[in-house]
């Protein structure tokens, strides 16, 4: 009897702590989103009230969409993220396959060389990266960002994917070899399809930092036509600090797509993190 009661009160305490933290985590996001749909007056008079018929307005969003080129920014971010992920996964899987499948001289050294970048942030080399991009004429192109993010993502991708590659059965590959398939076909037709879950994990890991990065867009691609959404909203908000409707709407525009994508992929993300890929 008594132990049942302590079990119940313990359960309540656990939920209370977790709910409190959920409120702390979500409250700022919630406040920004509700106020982005309100009139200036309502924003200041009742910041915590939901928008109602009286206070509802699209004004902020209209200003943002008329003044800033958010559609362009969004497209740039999208291109950079998707193309970088494609290269990270393709090149990363190829290198991981070479390291996991073949015994050759320098295999371990190559593995260590590629793993260096897991711990050392690419930002340290920014001065020389900008130099390189200026010399190759890639400044203010999306290509510069794609190259940087690909280089940044490869070390962890190779590391995680080669762990998974080692689990692919040798019988399968040897059967392919007996059937006369060459090494490329074995990789692309037999091994790569088995890597889908691991590649999804790598993709989700890399997606968030690439989409959210401010440093490299600011330094390598600040021109209007190649601004990413993160840099675009940063500059826009900096210019419109006093227009609260516009600032809140710009934040809303930056938050909403991320939240939608997250709710679609959160299962994959959490499974990826907890699958032991980073033990």
């Amino acid at each position: 009897m008594n132990s049942a009661r302590t079990a119940l009160s313990r359960k309540i305490a656990v939920h209370a702590v977790l709910i409190t933290y959920v409120v702390i985590a979500l409250f700022p996001v919630f406040v920004i989103l509700i106020n982005s749909f309100k009139t200036r007056r309502a924003i200041f008079r009742e910041p915590l009230a939901l928008p109602n018929a009286d206070s509802f307005t699209w004004e902020g969003y209209q200003t943002v969409l008329n003044q800033g080129d958010f559609l362009q920014y969004f497209q740039n971010s999208f291109v950079v993220t998707v193309v970088s992920l494609f290269f990270i996964l393709l090149f990363g899987a190829m290198a991981a396959f070479a390291l996991a499948e073949y015994r050759f001289k320098g295999n371990t050294v190559m593995g260590l060389y590629l793993a260096l970048g897991i711990m050392i942030p690419i930002r340290i080399g920014t001065v020389a990266i900008l130099d390189l991009m200026v010399q190759t004429g890639l400044v203010n192109t999306l290509m510069a960002l794609i190259l940087v993010y690909t280089a940044q993502g490869l070390p962890l991708a190779v590391f995680i994917l080669s762990e998974f590659m080692q689990q692919v059965s040798d019988d399968l590959k040897n059967a392919g070899r007996i059937d006369g398939l060459n090494e490329y076909t074995i990789f692309f037709k037999l091994v790569l399809p088995l890597m889908r879950p691991a590649m999804a994990t790598v993709a989700v890991f890399n997606m968030i930092p690439i989409w959210n990065d401010l440093w490299f867009p600011l330094i390598l691609a600040p021109a209007e036509s190649v601004k990413t959404l993160t840099l675009g909203s940063q500059v826009f908000i900096g210019q419109y600090v006093t227009n609260w409707n516009a600032v809140l709407a710009a934040l809303g525009l930056a938050i909403i797509p991320v939240i939608i994508l997250y709710t679609l992929f959160s299962r994959q993300l959490i499974r990826g993190i907890t699958s032991g890929a980073v033990k």
Partner: protein, 304 residues
């Protein structure tokens, strides 16, 4: 003498990754270290050896700024270690309870700030803490603490701590998830054996689970270290490149950016920027080595 036949498929598989990684990451890294040994006079590059470092550590104008940034960065890191990681571990411990309902909802919701960009997080908190808007004082009023409210981001004494806590708020999801993964991998038999000996609840966590997840906590700590000494975006978004008020929130990342690109009247200097980047590199290298040789080798790993 016969050379071993080159296996071309291995070269083809490795080449794209190795080329991109070497050209964009490794080569610029070492080139930056090299550029730190040069200076620019009348638009020509001049080799000056360690002169830039002598300026950085010898000239009070530079060295004060550098030690200030390094100190602030240490504070930033210590706050993360003392707040972010314990809170993350606590949340993971609560979430890993096998019969917890709504665990998936809690996990998803608590991770949301982590997926948002620094720009969103920075501006959102700037608005919420702004005395103009008054959300923060109103909330404090509810619990009767309105008198405690100050413009925390605008005061020299509190700005750095406030920014550290905002960053903690954003990234608590990462230690939570990594600890959660480690806790799930502990086999039930071990916990059941503990239960037979009467170890349950809190003491089971303290005496059985925590020692088993120490290696994960080690990894979380070194990840926190690297991320913190590489930070820039949040401070730049909320306080600008000058990391105000009066450089009280200046960290190595913002100092390097300012030096490299210039600000207000000071011109940008890529060579001094490289010198600061070399300093950051040294700090991160020391941290990673301390982890690899000092901590990781001493932690006992258990194979289940």
């Amino acid at each position: 003498m016969q050379f071993p036949r080159i296996k071309w498929h291995i070269v083809v598989f490795l080449a794209p990754a190795v080329l991109v990684y070497s050209a964009i990451m490794i080569f610029p890294l070492f080139n930056t270290l090299r550029l730190a040994l040069y200076t620019e006079v009348d638009q020509t590059r001049l080799f000056v050896g360690l002169e830039n470092f002598r300026t950085l550590f010898g000239d009070p104008l530079w060295s004060d700024a550098f030690w200030n940034a390094l100190w602030n960065n240490m504070v930033f890191f210590v706050v993360h270690m003392l707040v972010q990681n314990p809170v993350g571990i606590l949340l993971a411990a609560l979430l890993s309870h096998p019969k917890l309902r709504m665990a998936a909802f809690y996990r998803t919701a608590i991770f949301i700030p982590t997926i948002l960009s620094f720009v969103i997080v920075g501006f959102a908190w700037k608005l919420i803490l702004s005395p103009l808007w008054g959300i923060a004082p109103d909330l404090l009023d509810v619990v009767g603490l309105k008198s405690l409210f100050q413009p925390w981001l605008g005061r020299e004494g509190t700005a750095l701590l406030t920014l550290s806590l905002i960053s903690v708020w954003q990234f608590v999801g990462i230690p939570m998830m990594l600890t959660y993964a480690a806790l799930l991998s502990i086999p039930d038999e071990i916990l059941e054996a503990g239960e037979c000996d009467g170890i349950t609840g809190f003491s089971a966590f303290w005496k059985i689970k925590l020692p088993l997840i120490l290696p994960s906590i080690g990894i979380i700590s070194v990840l926190t270290f690297v991320a913190n000494f590489n930070a820039f975006d949040l401070i730049y978004t909320t306080q600008g490149a000058l990391a105000g008020p009066d450089f009280s929130t200046d960290i190595l990342g913002t100092m390097m950016y300012r030096t490299f690109f210039g600000f207000q009247l000071q011109l940008g200097d890529p060579h001094m920027g490289s010198a600061i980047a070399s300093g950051m590199f040294a700090v991160i290298l020391i941290g990673v080595c301390v982890y690899l040789f000092g901590i990781q080798t001493r932690l006992r790993r258990y194979q289940f």
